[in-house]
């Protein structure tokens, strides 16, 4: 750091006070820097810290957002633990996460491998695959709503052409979860393919050269070399999909409404939170649900991290460069 020294003789004559003005000036010296970072911290204090603390207080109240609050202690949390809808929403969220993440990862890997082999139009293909990721979920939920429609949807029409019975995409509990998963797969496969492709391109070529010389076939090379080397990138992808998977809301809400459709099969955690807080105006219980979701997300993240970290320890760090 370049220190700006106080000009000699600038300190006032009275000795005891000499120290104070100098340190005060030092503090003021960094005022522009503090001002420069202040907006974020101010906004976070007002719209982040205060609301989070206040939501803990709210979770102990019964409140419709308008009338007086009534302190109910841990009543909301006690109810939450026995609330079947909350548990179902956790189950639905996890089921949809698995149903979407597994095919998405496989497809993304295949696309990345394809793009990584020397094909033309790589740039155009990349943009085409990535486009869903930046397109409005509300808009595309409406489009998918018509694609999935039982009577006039094109998907059932195509299935009919292939001699397959119509599926009640927006009526049958498992078809509903499948429909939401398809939308998530559509949205995130390209994103992950781009990331896997970057990972593939960063791999050292000499390992593959050695494998080829040793007579390894393409399948063997993929499972023995490519996949283990790609591990850190795969971990990143799984962690990211877990974070966004726990937040699924828009697809369900637009496609099926605030209650998640027939039997609540599409009721996710965040949809249940939204419905309770902002459709039913139950702010106190809504706050308790939000804390419930927070606990689930933390537990799930820890579990996730444990599972993907365990095998092949040590390899991760080495291959990351």
């Amino acid at each position: 750091m370049t220190a700006i020294l106080p000009a000699p003789g600038a300190a006032p004559a009275d000795a005891p006070a000499r120290h104070a003005p100098v340190s005060k000036r030092k503090r003021w010296r960094y005022l522009p820097q503090y001002l420069a970072i202040a907006p974020f911290f101010l906004l976070f204090a007002v719209f982040g810290i205060y609301p989070v603390l206040y939501s803990l207080y709210l979770a102990l109240q019964r409140w419709d957002g308008v009338g007086p609050m009534k302190f109910v202690g841990l009543e909301n949390f006690r109810f939450l633990l026995s609330d079947a809808t909350f548990w179902e929403s956790i189950g639905n969220t996890l089921v949809i996460w698995v149903m979407s993440t597994v095919p998405m990862t496989v497809l993304a890997l295949l696309i990345a491998l394809g793009l990584n082999s020397s094909v033309r139009f790589k740039g155009v293909l990349r943009v085409a695959y990535f486009l869903p990721n930046v397109t409005s979920i509300v808009a595309m939920s409406l489009v998918f709503g018509s694609i999935f429609s039982h009577d006039f949807g094109i998907l059932n029409w195509v299935l009919g052409l292939a001699g397959i019975d119509h599926v009640q995409w927006l009526n049958d509990p498992w078809a509903i979860r499948g429909a939401i998963s398809i939308m998530i797969i559509w949205r995130w496969t390209g994103y992950n393919a781009i990331i896997f492709l970057a990972g593939l391109q960063a791999l050292p070529t000499d390992v593959f050269e050695a494998a080829r010389i040793d007579g390894a076939g393409p399948v063997q090379t993929f499972f023995r070399i490519t996949l283990p080397l790609l591990r850190p990138v795969l971990l990143f992808s799984v962690v990211m999909s877990a974070i966004s998977g726990m937040q699924i809301f828009t697809e369900s809400q637009v496609l099926l409404g605030n209650r998640g459709g027939p039997d609540g099969a599409g009721m996710t955690m965040v949809l249940y939170f939204y419905n309770t807080a902002f459709a039913d105006n139950d702010f106190g219980y809504g706050a308790a649900i939000a804390w419930g979701i927070f606990v689930v997300v933390v537990l799930f993240s820890i579990l996730n991290w444990r599972l993907v970290q365990r095998p092949a320890r040590g390899q991760v760090k080495e291959t990351v460069r």
Binding site: F41, F130, A202, V233, F236, V254
Partner: protein
């Protein structure tokens, strides 16, 4: 893999995959340009019809679609400009200056990543009610004016991209902190600003949950909220809903296509570093 047959298979698979990915866009355009009767027909019409402009006209006539388009544009543009300014200023500061408490403050900034949005949502709504911002676009713009992700991401970029000698030279020329940010920091950060700008614009344009909560009962809704209302109101007039949907995504697709390659490269690079 390197055989001709393998290459053809790869090509065909990639192109089929891309066509499947793009199919919903095609289907949206087909539905938006046909009548509702065509959409409901069996077998469905698979090609573009001639009713696109009539359908779009209906959307604008039936609801204040122009108003929500304008609202969304205002929110996305203003949020993006504020984020670019506040985030780059803070990122420049954290990257290049060492002041008392700087590393602790940056640590706090990183810790804010773990705060889930739902936890804050109800009190935020209550706060907006106290400020008188319910139904006001300020409720969308102000809380989003600076964010930890942008500052963190841009700081990583600024550390490597802005040479200390340039800062030293600016100081010798008598430039103050803010002047240095404007004349040295900003020009160097331009590629990072382009990425963060598109990223922020896209997110602001597509945001749904929070606008739904704070704008729902007002005349000032954004496109996403208008779309979901349109769907509820005119569910029988499918082609009109689809025309609205098409109008809602086209501007964003254009913005994205402008910076797509640069944007995608940054997404990939960010993931590898993370």
């Amino acid at each position: 893999m390197t055989t001709t047959r393998g290459r053809v298979v790869t090509y065909v698979a990639l192109i089929v995959g891309a066509l499947l990915t793009l199919f919903p866009y095609y289907w949206l355009a087909v539905m938006a340009s046909n009548t509702t009767a065509d959409i409901y027909a069996t077998p469905p019409r698979l090609t573009f019809g001639g009713h696109l402009f009539a359908n779009i006209g209906q959307v604008f006539a039936k609801i204040d679609f122009f108003g929500s388009l304008l609202n969304t544009l205002i929110v996305a543009v203003v949020t993006t400009l504020l984020v670019l300014f506040f985030d780059s200023l803070a990122a420049f500061t954290f990257a290049k200056y060492d002041f008392p408490g700087s590393s602790v403050l940056f640590g706090i900034l990183l810790a804010t990543f773990v705060v889930p949005t739902q936890l804050a949502a109800i009190p935020q709504f209550d706060l907006m009610a106290h400020f008188g911002w319910v139904g006001d676009l300020k409720a969308l713009i102000i809380p989003a004016a600076a964010n930890a992700f942008g500052i963190f991401w841009m700081r990583q970029y600024a550390r490597g991209a802005i040479p200390d000698e340039l800062l030293e030279a600016a100081r010798m020329d008598g430039a103050g902190f803010f002047r240095t940010y404007l004349s040295v920091g900003l020009p160097v950060l331009r590629p990072a600003l382009a990425f963060l700008g598109i990223f922020t614009f896209v997110n602001a344009w597509n945001d749904y949950l929070w606008p739904l909560v704070v704008l729902i009962d007002s005349n000032h809704v954004t496109l996403q909220v208008a779309l979901s209302q349109l769907n509820g109101l005119y569910v029988k007039d499918y082609s009109v809903v689809m025309a609205g949907t098409l109008v809602a995504i086209v501007p964003l697709v254009i913005v994205f296509l402008f910076g797509a390659r640069h944007f995608i490269r940054n997404i990939a690079a960010g993931a590898l570093k993370g």
